[in-house]
C-alpha cells in the first residue's frame, strides 16, 4: 500500500497541474456518485421523491393534495424528521415523518418519505367524503401527529411559566369533503372503547382529522375497526354522518 501510494504520488508530481486537477475532480465525481448510490439515490425535491416512490411501487401518477413542510423555525417539533402542515386556521400540525398524499379518480396514495419507515400505500376512495388513515408500515394506527398549544400558564406546582402542551393524535385525511363543512368529528371504536377527535381544514375539500387520547397509546390494530364520521355546518347542524370500517 505504501509502495503504491509513493508510486502514485511520483506519477502525479510528474504531470502538469491541470492534469492533476482533472485527476482529482474525476475521482471526486466517481466517489460522490458512490456516496449518492449508498445513500439510496436521494432526489433534490420532495415531489420528485414522491413520484419516484409511485413509480417504484407500480402506482399511477396522482395529484398531490398533502405535502409536508419544514417551515417551523419555532423548534416545537419533537424530531428534525418531523414534517408539518399548516391548517387554514393557522394551526401548525406536526407529523412524525415526512408525509405526502395524492389522489386519483377513485384512489388515494399516502407516502411517508423519511427514514427507514419510507412507505407508500394506496387506498380505495368511496364516492363523497372519504377517510384515509396515515398508517405506519405494518398497518397500525398510531400517534403519528401532534400539535402544540403554548402560552402563559402555570407549572404543576402553581408557578407562572410559559407552558407547552403537546397533543398527540392518530391522523386521518378526509378527502372530498363538501364545501359547507365547518367542523368535523371522527369516532373510532377500539376494544369496546370509543375515542373521538376533531379536525383541521387544510385546503378546499381536504381535512386532517385526529383522535387524541391522554394515555400513552399502544399501537391500534386496524382491519375491521369501526368508525363514525360526522361533518357539521357552520351553524353546528349535522351535515353528514357516515359509518364505516377502516
Amino acid at each position: 500500500m505504501k509502495k503504491w501510494w509513493k508510486k502514485l504520488k511520483r506519477r502525479l508530481e510528474s504531470i502538469s497541474r491541470g492534469d492533476q486537477t482533472v485527476f482529482y475532480l474525476t475521482w471526486s465525481v466517481l466517489l460522490s456518485f458512490g456516496i449518492w448510490m449508498r445513500l439510496g439515490c436521494p432526489l433534490p425535491s420532495k415531489e420528485m421523491e414522491f413520484r419516484r416512490m409511485e413509480r417504484t411501487h407500480l402506482l399511477p401518477r396522482s395529484e398531490i393534495v398533502l405535502s409536508y413542510g419544514t417551515r417551523s423555525g419555532d423548534g416545537l417539533q419533537v424530531s428534525r424528521e418531523d414534517g408539518s402542515v399548516l391548517a387554514l386556521d393557522g394551526t401548525e400540525l406536526y407529523l412524525r415523518g415526512r408525509w405526502m398524499a395524492g389522489v386519483l379518480e377513485d384512489k388515494a396514495v399516502v407516502a411517508c418519505l423519511s427514514g427507514n419507515g419510507r412507505y407508500i400505500r394506496s387506498f380505495h376512495l368511496n364516492s363523497g367524503p372519504s377517510l384515509v388513515p396515515l398508517l405506519w408500515r405494518g398497518e397500525y394506527l398510531d400517534n403519528v401527529g401532534y400539535w402544540v398549544a403554548h402560552g402563559p400558564g402555570k407549572t404543576p406546582e402553581g408557578n407562572p411559566a410559559y407552558v407547552y402542551n403537546y397533543h398527540n393524535f392518530a391522523p386521518f385525511l378526509l378527502l372530498n369533503a363538501p364545501e359547507e363543512v365547518s367542523s368535523a368529528e371522527i369516532t373510532v371504536r377500539l376494544e369496546g372503547e370509543e375515542c373521538s377527535g376533531g379536525g383541521w381544514q387544510l385546503k378546499d375539500g381536504i381535512w386532517l382529522l385526529g383522535i387524541e387520547r391522554e394515555q400513552q397509546l399502544d399501537k391500534w390494530a386496524t382491519g375491521g375497526t369501526a368508525y363514525i364520521l360526522r361533518l357539521f355546518r357552520e351553524d353546528g347542524s349535522l351535515l353528514l354522518e357516515r359509518e364505516g370500517v377502516l
Binding site: 492533476q20 486537477t21 471526486s28 466517489l31 456516496i35 448510490m37 449508498r38 445513500l39 439510496g40 417504484t56
Partner: protein, 265 residues
C-alpha cells in the same frame, strides 16, 4: 541597506503580481536561485569584486522588478492554482465522507447497497426468458429450477422461479413489495398461489394458498430479482410455471418451463 533586505525587497516586488501563494513561493525561490548563481559566476570571474557590487550587477542583469512582476502575473494565472488546491481538498473530503457513509450503512443489507444477494439467490439461471414491459420496468423470468433436498428430511422439494425487474433509470430500482404484493404464481397443476413474504406479512394473516417469496434475492444497479418458491409435488421436467403480475399500472403474464433439477445440500 544590508544585502539581504535589498535582495528580499527585489524578490518581493518581482513576485508580488502572482496571486496564487504556492506559485509565488516557488517562483521566488527560483529567482533567488538564479540571482545567487549569477553572483557566484561574477565572483568566480572577478574574485575581488565586493559583495554589494556583485549583488547589484546580478540584480540589474535580471531586469526591472516592476516589469518582471507584470510578466509573471500574466503567466501565472491564479484560477488554475486555486482550482487545483480546491480539487485536492474536495477529493480528501469525498473520500472521508465515503468512508463514513460506508461505515454507517454497513448494517443495512438493501437500502443503500449498490449490489448484493442473499442466500436464497437464483439456483439455476435461464437465458432468453419471456420479457414484458410494465410501467418503466422490463420484467423477465431469469431463473427456474426444481430444488431437491435428498439429505434434508425437514425440507420439502420446491420449485424456484425468479423474476427480474430492470429499468434504465438505475436510481429507481423497483420496490420488492410492488412485485410481491401483486404477483400470483400459477403452478404446473394449475393451482394459483398468492405471493407471500415473511417480512411483509409479519403479524398479519398469510394468504392461502401462498408461496414464499424472497424479496431480497439479488439486486444491482437498476434491477432487482425476487425469487418465488412453490411446492414441487408432482413436478415433471418441462412443466410450466406462470407468474401473473397485476398492478395498478397494468398487468403482465410471464411463464417458463422448469426443466432443471438441482440437488441442494
Amino acid at each position: 541597506m544590508n544585502f539581504d533586505s535589498v535582495l528580499s525587497r527585489w524578490l518581493d516586488t518581482a513576485v508580488s503580481g502572482i496571486r496564487f501563494g504556492l506559485d509565488r513561493k516557488e517562483v521566488r525561490a527560483e529567482l533567488e536561485g538564479h540571482i545567487e548563481d549569477k553572483m557566484a559566476d561574477l565572483r568566480r570571474v572577478f574574485p575581488d569584486i565586493p559583495p554589494d557590487e556583485a549583488r547589484d550587477r546580478a540584480l540589474s542583469s535580471m531586469g526591472n522588478p516592476e516589469e518582471l512582476k507584470e510578466e509573471l502575473a500574466r503567466v501565472h494565472r491564479p484560477w488554475l492554482g486555486w482550482l487545483w488546491t480546491a480539487s485536492r481538498y474536495l477529493l480528501c473530503l469525498v473520500m472521508l465522507v465515503n468512508l463514513l457513509v460506508g461505515y454507517s450503512n454497513s448494517g443495512n443489507i438493501e437500502e443503500g447497497s449498490i449490489r448484493g444477494s442473499t442466500s436464497y439467490g437464483t439456483v439455476h439461471r435461464i437465458r432468453g426468458g419471456e420479457k414484458a414491459e410494465l410501467g418503466q420496468y422490463t420484467f423477465q423470468i431469469t431463473g427456474a429450477a426444481c430444488l431437491e433436498y435428498p439429505n434434508r428430511l425437514d425440507r420439502e422439494d420446491k420449485l424456484q422461479v425468479v423474476l427480474r425487474a430492470s429499468s434504465p433509470r438505475f436510481w429507481e430500482r423497483i420496490n420488492p413489495r410492488a412485485i410481491v404484493d401483486n404477483v400470483t404464481v400459477v403452478g404446473p397443476d394449475g393451482t394459483r398461489y398468492a405471493a407471500d413474504s415473511n417480512k411483509y406479512h409479519d403479524g398479519l394473516k398469510k394468504p392461502d394458498p401462498a408461496v414464499w417469496a424472497n424479496m431480497f434475492s439479488e439486486w444491482g444497479i437498476g434491477w432487482r430479482e425476487v425469487a418465488f418458491f412453490l411446492p414441487a409435488e408432482g413436478w415433471q421436467p418441462g412443466d410450466r410455471v406462470t407468474l401473473e403480475l397485476d398492478s395498478e399500472v397494468g398487468r403482465i403474464v410471464l411463464s417458463t418451463a422448469v426443466t432443471e433439477r438441482v440437488e441442494m445440500s
